[in-house]
Symmetry: C2
């Protein structure tokens, strides 16, 4: 019988599990309390000032019902702001705060360190291969989840 540990789905779960643990440990050691999900959202808000929640969700492949809570927590920590949009009264425009910018800058080393640690069992070439293969598999499966990656609108 095929072992669970030989199924790609199970490997995906374990790699993600380790990745999250490593991220939280590194960022925590650096003195910050930010999850991988919150980090990605904050970095994307910084890179796309004034974007709305649906666009943000698309850029990082989060479900729109998940992004609500993530932003709630970023706002509550004073790292981001949520404003009503002037062009579309349904939408909320997101901005990073100065505090958010400071936090992003300070945790960057920890985040980069975490990415290295998750690949520490692999050579540089193997790490690149893994990234490339994950990219390729993800691109092919992008539309299969409820929260696919979406390019920003022009």
């Amino acid at each position: 019988m095929k072992d669970n540990n030989d199924m790609p789905g199970h490997l995906a779960r374990r790699f993600q599990q380790i990745a999250v643990a490593v991220f939280l440990a590194e960022v925590g050691d650096a003195g910050f309390d930010l999850t991988p999900v919150q980090y990605a959202a904050l970095a994307t808000i910084k890179a796309n000032p004034g974007l709305d929640q649906v666009t943000l969700a698309g850029l990082i492949a989060y479900d729109r019902t998940t992004i609500t809570g993530v932003i709630d927590r970023l706002v509550q920590k004073g790292l981001a702001e949520r404003r009503a949009s002037s062009r579309d009264r349904r939408a909320r425009e997101l901005e990073i705060t100065d505090e958010g910018r400071r936090t992003l800058r300070k945790i960057t080393p920890a985040v980069e360190s975490a990415q290295r640690i998750m690949l520490r069992g692999l050579s540089a070439k193997e790490g690149e291969d893994l990234m490339r293969l994950l990219h390729k598999a993800i691109a092919a499966g992008n539309e299969l989840s409820r929260a696919p990656l979406r390019e920003a609108q022009a």
Copy 2:
């Protein structure tokens, strides 16, 4: 600046996200309501009759606080049973039911189909490479999460 989508942690999250969606879709289409996590637990109970919860958790790298709820749901669906252990009154022995065995047998094609679909963007060799690299990275990071993989005790 490095894009989120080039970080291994983010790729891990996306691959897992797609893997879960594909699994639920395939198994759901086959007429069953079982999550990837519940499937792995049930298959492992079947392969190791009478094991206790901590051992089960170790075999599939789940946290011990997570396994409680997973087993609750398997028991509630009539797929597994939880009995007091005779040797250790703290422990619970787990058994698969006939219904659980039937379910496992019937959903196997859907589970296998799901594993193929998650790799559909890759050639056979690329799929093998991805599995091998994930294995290697996971082995090196095993102890970094709160729920590492553990071999069964002799």
